[in-house]
């Protein structure tokens, strides 16, 4: 290989490998920005969509999958969290497509097929031409083994799409997971290319100062990041959300204020009855639909007992039960749902509800954020009221979350800022130029630098 070739090969911008589809051929049920993103993702062949909740990831996935099916004639598999699969079937129907809900390879029909992540081992990944991961950030919550299994299973699938909410820009592992799933670059390669590792902890990585702009250019070459349509230069229009009102309720409790994590847990246990009683009273005096989030199993039990018409979904329930309860709640057949954000907090459309209460708070901002987004999302017409009920002794829980939220907003803005310029350009066209080395002057060799008059 000559040197020029080698250098070309070193450039990490992924060449488009998919299909050119005219915008007019994309389902008119999609918004303009959604059409452009689908068009771009088809052009790339393998892409990630990091889009804020409620921006229509399911629709874009279904449309992308449908086009891959039409263009390749092969089957497409969508993997989604539990209950989201059934919801996606409905989304597909709204676009005029049949999405087959499957439990194993035997159920697969030509076209679009969907199952939940837990069923993956009943399928033959090699038989699909396209794969879509819905809520792909779920890769994070699986053990390394399952994560690797998902990545390896589809290593030979020609067309791949991963969709998830915008990760925090410093969540490099998440971006690495996606790059690896898409076959763009392995996570370890990504780390050594763009990151330095300093400090004593082997899990901490920092973007190399030089690599910052290059890193985001690289991410933008295979992933699109947006929080709202205007991030890519479109009108926000229907995506403007109704107000979100967060009410902080501090229940009086005995004991010293918690300082450490352990003390906070203890304070939560001690104040459980008071918090549950407050929540039950608040809810029972209304006829509204409520979503109630807790953190401990004891909270879950107590809440279900105290709240009229409450249905509980907990980790130990069978998947079929969980799925039915979530879908019934989404359809308005259940008026009060008690669960943890780690179980029902992802992917579901609960716009039917505009009131929720957190009786126990998980310390994960992402989970709380996702939980709120079940109701406060595109399609919600009423203001959303969120009650956060904590005990006096728990300390500044809400403040902590608000700080994390602000951090997250800042980081996402940063990420959008980095990628939007590159993206809005590449989403509309498809090629970018990457010339940086501009050597145009002939080399001058000084008089004093001459070959020695000797045979070599």
């Amino acid at each position: 290989m000559n040197y020029e070739k080698f250098i070309k090969q070193k450039q990490q911008i992924v060449a488009p490998s998919g299909f050119s589809v005219s915008r007019d051929d994309i389902n008119p049920g999609l918004f303009e920005f959604q059409k452009d993103i689908v068009k771009w993702a088809l052009k790339r062949g393998r892409a990630a969509i990091f889009a804020g909740t409620g921006l229509g990831k399911s629709r874009m996935q279904v449309e992308w999958g449908q086009k891959i099916h039409e263009l390749t004639g092969g089957d497409v598999l969508l993997l989604a969290p539990l209950a989201v699969a059934a919801q996606t079937v409905r989304e597909g129907a709204a676009l005029g497509y049949e999405v087959h809900l499957c439990r194993s390879q035997d159920d697969v029909k030509p076209g679009l097929n969907i199952t939940n992540y837990e069923m993956l081992h009943h399928f033959e990944p090699i038989l699909f031409s396209g794969i879509v991961l819905d809520e792909s950030s779920i890769l994070k919550s699986f053990t390394g083994k399952i994560r690797n299994e998902i990545i390896e299973s589809f290593a030979f699938t020609p067309y791949r799409l991963a969709c998830t909410a915008t990760p925090a820009p410093n969540d490099y592992m998440e971006l690495g997971n996606h790059a690896e799933f898409l076959g763009v670059m392995s996570r370890t390669e990504m780390l050594s290319m763009y990151f330095v590792h300093d400090g004593g902890r082997t899990s901490q990585w920092r973007l190399k100062g030089h690599a910052e702009s290059d890193f985001w250019a690289w991410v933008a070459s295979w992933g699109v990041v947006l929080e709202k349509p205007s991030d890519l230069g479109y009108e926000d229009g229907a995506f403007k959300l109704p107000p979100l009102n967060i009410h902080e309720i501090i229940v009086p409790a005995e004991g010293p204020p918690a300082n450490t994590l352990t003390e906070r847990r203890q304070a939560r246990k001690n104040s459980l009855n008071d918090r549950v009683a407050y929540c039950a009273e608040l809810i029972n005096q209304t006829d509204d639909t409520w979503l109630i989030w807790c953190d401990l199993n004891d909270e879950s039990d107590a809440l279900t007992k105290a709240i009229e018409g409450a249905v509980e979904v907990r980790g130990s329930h069978k998947p079929a039960y969980k799925e039915k309860a979530m879908l019934d709640f989404a359809a308005g057949d259940i008026k009060r749902l008690v669960s943890k954000s780690s179980i029902c907090g992802f992917g579901m459309n609960f716009q039917v509800c505009n009131r929720m209460a957190f009786v126990g708070l998980s310390d994960s901002f992402e989970q709380i954020f996702q939980a709120i987004r079940r109701c406060w999302r595109f399609g919600q017409t009423k203001p959303v009221d969120v009650y956060i009920i904590t005990a006096e002794t728990e300390g500044a829980v809400l403040e902590n979350i608000k700080r994390k939220e602000q951090d997250f907003k800042n980081m996402v803005d940063e990420m959008v800022r980095y990628t939007q310029g590159i993206l809005s350009e590449s989403i509309r066209s498809s090629e970018r130029e990457m010339t940086k080395y501009n050597a145009e002057k002939h080399l001058i060799i000084p008089e004093w630098l001459r070959s020695e008059p000797i045979a070599s």
Binding site: T188, S192, H197, K208, E212, I445, W448, R450
Partner: protein
Amino acid sequence: MNPLQVNTVDQVITEEYALYLGDCVEVTKGLPDNSIHYSIFSPPFSSLYTYSNNERDMGNSRNDEEFMEHFRYLISELYRVTIPGRLVSFHCMDIPAMKSRDGFIGIKDFSGSLLRMFINNNFIYHSKTVIWKDPLVEATRTKALGLLHKQIVKDSAMCRQGLPDYLITVRKPGDNPEPVSHPDGFSRFYGENEPEAPKTKPTLKDSQKHKTISLAKTDPVYSHHVWRRYASPVWMDIRQTNTLQYRSAREEKDEKHICPLQLDVIARGVELWSNPGDVVFSPFMGIGSEGYQAVLMGRRFVGIELKESYFKIAANNLKMAVDELNEIDELLS
């Protein structure tokens, strides 16, 4: 033979030095065959540090294999431009292997890999010296698990020694057309704790008689002591902080250039392996440490740098070397 006509981004050519802003593989292709008397440089240490976001930067490699592949292009050019019988010194260290990147905690034999590449490209393994480094400094900087005292308490099976620097030297085969001679031995010393001995010119010049004089005896003690220190397989006496000031070369977001080559190391290489007036070469010029020292010592210098901000500082530093040299000349005249 005319070398390939190649291009560079920018260049500064004077009587004493030629500095090129460009890709070192490309630019070296443009240098004449057998034109370099001695090379000394510190290459990027695989992907340990990154100096720029250019894919032509060897520090921008996805893995060690890609780095080595990139570096190999340079070695074959280095071989071509080096005068037969003359030397190339490279400064390097071994690289800690990390669990998340390499899958294990340990050390990667980076110095060995580099040396093997030179050998595979027909160079002869000529010498190696270890440059001592304080393990406490390394432990403080890197927090490497194997160097922390608490690890001794926990499980010393994971404890290790600090990582030194190496100056490894290889030789292009063939007869050296111009011997590098030191007829009066060494009259100066680069490093810490200069040997205490009269710097008189040796009166005994007969090598037969030298044989009978032990190093501990009188005449010519100074040069012998210096040589004993330079010839040491471990250099304990390098002034670690004696580096060309680099702070000004950094752009706002640059990573710190944390491994500048100490001027003492360069000076020893230049003194030992080149004659005054010879051409010293560095394909990874950085801010010009090798050039600065070589010019101060009356050599000519050819340097290549990919990063514009470093290149500009190097040009200033080389000019400074010439000015300093002229001042000394004026003082002496």
